[in-house]
Structures are given as structure tokens and as C-alpha cells.
């Protein structure tokens, strides 16, 4: 921009007036609840005539001793480890597929992307029947190979993985479009040069394409990680967190604690933990991006 340009001077009060409506709602529904969660987490749940009272770290002590809390944290970790790498790898694979000349490319891309526009509840109600013992598609396929029926969602050792598979199916196509955009932005002469040098396609992909996709991978990784704490809709249809909390995740446990057990103080405590987890994630992201900038 030329230096001689006169910078338009607007009074700051105008700016604050423009911001005001958005700020009021953001404070009411984002900042206030964050602070209130922390506040309520050091108070007791008001019951009947007894108003809420300051209890210090009692709720947190209770949480440390709560086996269900550790179970849902563990489940959430497994859920994250199960969904994030798989959906990213599949997304990349899909993007590479549809970025090439392929018969009926449009139809293939459509198939990959369609789960993105479906609500999670609908997806779950469709998949529910896949997992039904004996009648479900999964058991029918297994029966063709001579295996007996299995109660996929009723067995603590398989239930979480059923939910992981379904979530990967739902998410991969969404992440694909970011990889697709990034692949299309790579100048063709780069890969052509590699081909002229006699590099194999795999080598070119690994040494030329993949590094160029790093920013996209970081973006997708962060989104996938946030989603692994946020996606719980499917539990309402498939398992309600069961059997015996084997498929419960942190946000679902928060919902249950507040709306099924009416323990608002403990729900606030669990929310505070989730907020800290997400905050820590933001910090890691910030550090990662900083480092990437420095490398340049």
C-alpha cells in the first residue's frame, strides 16, 4: 500500500458500538460459562433448601476418586487415538484418489463427501442396524465366513471400536476436501520435475507432496482432535455410553451428570477439565505453528 495514503480515522467509540452486540452474546454464552464452570466447580450443588456453599477442591477430590471419570478419560483417549490417525490417513488417500484422472471421479468424490452433510444422529441410526447381533449386516457377513453372531454394541471390548469406525466414516470425507484443495494448489511442475529426475511416484509423494501438505495436516489434526472431544451425538442413539460406561466419553458424561443425575457442581467440575484440555490443545497448536514459522 502506498505510504502517502491518508489513513481514515474513525473514533474508537464507533468501533466498540459495532462490536457491542456480538460481544454481549459472546460474553454471555462463552466467557461467562467458562468462568462460571470454574466458580461452580469449587461450590456444592444446591439441593432443596440448602443453598450452594464453597467447598474448595472437594469436587476435584471426588473426581480423582471417581472410577467413571477415569474410564471416560481413557475412553476419550482411545477414541481420539482411534479416530484421528485413521480419518486423516483415509482423508489423504481419498484426496489423492480423486485428484487423479479416474473414471467417474465426480461420483467417487460424492460418495466420499456425502457423510459430511448427514447429521450424526441419522448416521448412528443407520449404523445401529449394522451392529445388530445376528440380523445386522456385520454379522451376516461374518456368518458367510462361518463365524457366530456377536453383540457388537453390548460387548465392552468391541463397543468403542464400533463407534470409532462409524466416526471415521463420518469424518474422513470432510477432511478430504482440505487435502484436495492443498493438492490442487501444488504447482504441477514440481511433481513433473521429480518425474523427469526419475523419482518413483511413491518417492515423489513422500519427499515432495507430503511435506507441502504439512500445514493442511496440522489444520486437519487440530480439527480432528477438537472433534474427538466434541462428537458424542452418536452415543445417544447407539449405546447411551454403555455397557457399563464402556463407550462413554467426557462430554457425554458431563451431559449425564448434569441432566440425568442433577449433580450440577460435579458437571461444572468435569466441564472445567474439558475446558483445560481444549485450552492445552490451543497452546500446543500455537507452539507448533510458531515453530513452523521459525523453520522458514
Amino acid at each position: 500500500m502506498p505510504a502517502h495514503r491518508r489513513v481514515t480515522v474513525h473514533p474508537p467509540v464507533q468501533a466498540w458500538l459495532l462490536l457491542l452486540p456480538a460481544l454481549v452474546l459472546l460474553v454471555a454464552f462463552t466467557h461467562w460459562p467458562i468462568v462460571a464452570s470454574l466458580w461452580d466447580s469449587v461450590h456444592s450443588t444446591p439441593r432443596g433448601m440448602r443453598p450452594k456453599a464453597f467447598v474448595g477442591l472437594d469436587n476435584y477430590a471426588f473426581m480423582i476418586d471417581d472410577p467413571v471419570f477415569w474410564q471416560v478419560m481413557w475412553n476419550n483417549l482411545l477414541f481420539a487415538l482411534g479416530t484421528i490417525p485413521a480419518s486423516i490417513a483415509l482423508a489423504l488417500l481419498m484426496a489423492v484418489f480423486v485428484n487423479e484422472r479416474l473414471p467417474a471421479r465426480g461420483a467417487v468424490r460424492l460418495a466420499y463427501f456425502t457423510p459430511t452433510v448427514l447429521p450424526m444422529v441419522a448416521v448412528a441410526s443407520i449404523w445401529l442396524f449394522f451392529f445388530t447381533p445376528q440380523l445386522g449386516l456385520l454379522d451376516q457377513v461374518r456368518a458367510a465366513f462361518g463365524a457366530g453372531p456377536h453383540n457388537w454394541l453390548g460387548d465392552p471390548s468391541t463397543v468403542l471400536w464400533c463407534i470409532v469406525v462409524m466416526t471415521v466414516w463420518k469424518e474422513a470425507g470432510f477432511f478430504m476436501i482440505f487435502y484436495l484443495a492443498a493438492l490442487q494448489a501444488i504447482p504441477p511442475n514440481l511433481t513433473e520435475a521429480a518425474a523427469v529426475e526419475g523419482a518413483s511416484r511413491w518417492y515423489t509423494f513422500r519427499r515432495v507432496v507430503l511435506p507441502l501438505l504439512m500445514p493442511t495436516t496440522l489444520f486437519v489434526l487440530i480439527n480432528a482432535t477438537i472433534n474427538s472431544f466434541k462428537l458424542v451425538d452418536q452415543l445417544f442413539i447407539l449405546t447411551k455410553g454403555g455397557p457399563d460406561n464402556a463407550s462413554s466419553l467426557l462430554l457425554y458424561y458431563i451431559y449425564e451428570t448434569a441432566f440425568a443425575f442433577n449433580d450440577w457442581a460435579y458437571a461444572a467440575t468435569l466441564t472445567a477439565v474439558l475446558i483445560c484440555l481444549l485450552g492445552g490443545l490451543a497452546l500446543i497448536q500455537f507452539v507448533l505453528i510458531e515453530r513452523r514459522v521459525h523453520y522458514r
Binding site: 456425502t114 443407520i126 442396524f129 476436501i177 482440505f178
Partner: protein, 267 residues
């Protein structure tokens, strides 16, 4: 050449696998319940399942609620985000960077994460079980502010200065210069926002409790819960009914949808 055809085959198998759940639901929905798990070419076609589903659940009401919700959210978002984005893009004022950072907190910690405290807030202002209550936490969207700010920043200053010379005020300039130039961003944001809120479940579930307010996702959740005892074929039909509007819109405007999601993601 051989690896190419292998790749094509793999891409196709993956595509079939990806479309299988929907195809399966469609199969179950358009055949009599007896054929829900029996795949025979000669199975008779029937729309009976759709009729049953339509009778059991008040789908028209659920759709009306969802349309009201999505309209409310989008109208509010357009207004509030436009104003805020303009302030961030074109004003220099003390506290701007702090205010922006504070707003961006919402990108990380979405309202549904804060459902416990947000429920209490809504209860305090007496709006539980209303459509505006579903919309309210999402109206001031950090994501929308971010997206529009990026777009507004690219508007050449000359255009604004020309309008200033003609004596236009800031709101006139915003309306006449910035908003028209940002039309593609509004379209992209609208599609992303509509898809998100059409499909949103957890917060609407918590804050609604009656047929008059429930959006289609929550309605479907009630309808498809295993304990209702409705048979699988009817549930499939109901599920297809609920996803139909957005799915059809997506099939018609595929390119716009995909590009909007891309544009919204790559910032």
C-alpha cells in the same frame, strides 16, 4: 499402467464402502420390513415404511422448527458478524487485539461444550424450550467474524475513500461497499452454518422438550431410539425423510457446498 488400474479399483471399492450405509438404509426403507435383512433382487417395492414413519413422528413440525432455527441463526450471524468484522477490519482502537483474541476463544470452546452453564443461563432468562434459546449461543459466531474480517481486509481502501468523499457514514459504507463485495464469503458461510445447525443435536436436545420446539435431529433421536420399538424399516424411512432436504440441496449444489467448506476451512 498396472498400478493405475489397481488404484482406480481401490478408489472405487472405497467409494462403494462409503456409500454402503446409505444404500443399505435406502434398501430397507423401500421394501417391506420382511426384506430389511434379506437381499433379493425380486423383493417388492413399497412406500409403506415412509407412510408409517410420517404417521408416527410429526416430521412437518420438526422441519418447521429446524427451518425457523436455521433462519434465526443465520440472520443473527449475518448481522452481528458483519458489524463486528467491520470494526476489526477497518478500525484502529485500543484493546482491539485483546478483544479479537477473546472472541476467538469460541472457535476452540464451542457453546455445546459449555452446555451445563448455558442451560442455567437460558433457564435464568426463562427461555428454556424455545427456538430462540437453541439459536442464541451461536448467533455471535467467532468463526463468522473471523471469515468476514479476512474478506473485508481485502477490500481496497480507495473504494471506501471514494464513498467517504461523497459524505457516506460508516454504516452506509459497510452496506454499500463491503457487504456487496463479500457476497461469496456470505454464501460460503451460509452453507457451512446451515449444514451445521441443520445437523446440530446436543444443545437442541438439552434445551428443548416439546414437539413445538424440537428440531429434526432431536425429533429423529426420539423416533429412532431403540426403546421405541419401531421396526428397522420404518426407522430407515424416517431417517431418510429427515436427511432428505439437506441431502437433496447438497446433491443439487454439490460444487457450492464443497467449495464453501473448503473456503471456510482454508483461512
Amino acid at each position: 499402467m498396472k498400478t493405475r488400474s489397481l488404484e482406480t479399483a481401490a478408489a472405487w471399492v472405497l467409494a462403494l464402502l462409503w456409500i454402503l450405509p446409505l444404500a443399505y438404509a435406502l434398501w430397507a426403507a423401500i421394501h417391506p420390513p420382511a426384506y430389511a435383512t434379506r437381499f433379493e433382487l425380486g423383493a417388492p417395492l413399497s412406500l409403506e415404511n415412509f407412510r408409517r414413519a410420517w404417521e408416527i413422528a410429526p416430521f412437518p413440525r420438526y422441519f418447521l422448527n429446524t427451518v425457523m432455527l436455521v433462519t434465526m441463526v443465520l440472520a443473527g450471524q449475518f448481522l452481528l458478524c458483519t458489524l463486528a468484522a467491520y470494526a476489526f477490519a477497518r478500525y484502529a482502537f485500543p484493546g482491539r487485539d485483546v478483544a479479537f483474541a477473546l472472541i476467538m476463544v469460541q472457535i476452540l470452546i464451542m457453546p455445546e461444550v459449555l452446555l451445563v452453564e448455558n442451560y442455567m443461563t437460558i433457564a435464568r432468562i426463562g427461555l428454556v424450550d424455545t427456538v430462540p434459546a437453541i439459536a442464541l449461543p451461536y448467533v455471535a459466531s467467532a468463526f463468522g467474524i473471523f471469515l468476514l474480517r479476512q474478506t473485508f481486509k481485502q477490500v481496497p481502501r480507495e473504494l471506501e475513500e471514494a464513498a467517504l468523499v461523497e459524505g457516506a457514514g460508516p454504516l452506509t459504507i459497510l452496506w454499500r461497499v463491503y457487504v456487496p463485495l463479500a457476497r461469496p464469503t456470505y454464501l460460503a458461510y451460509a452453507l457451512v452454518s446451515i449444514s451445521y445447525h441443520w445437523n446440530n443435536f446436543l444443545w437442541p436436545l438439552v434445551i428443548t422438550s416439546s414437539v413445538e420446539t424440537r428440531p429434526i435431529t432431536v425429533g429423529l433421536g426420539v423416533f429412532a431410539a431403540p426403546e421405541t420399538g419401531v421396526n428397522w424399516a420404518v426407522i430407515s424411512a424416517g431417517t431418510l425423510i429427515s436427511v432428505a432436504p439437506l441431502l437433496i440441496a447438497f446433491l443439487l449444489f454439490q460444487r457450492q457446498f464443497v467449495q464453501s467448506f473448503m473456503r471456510a476451512g482454508i483461512r
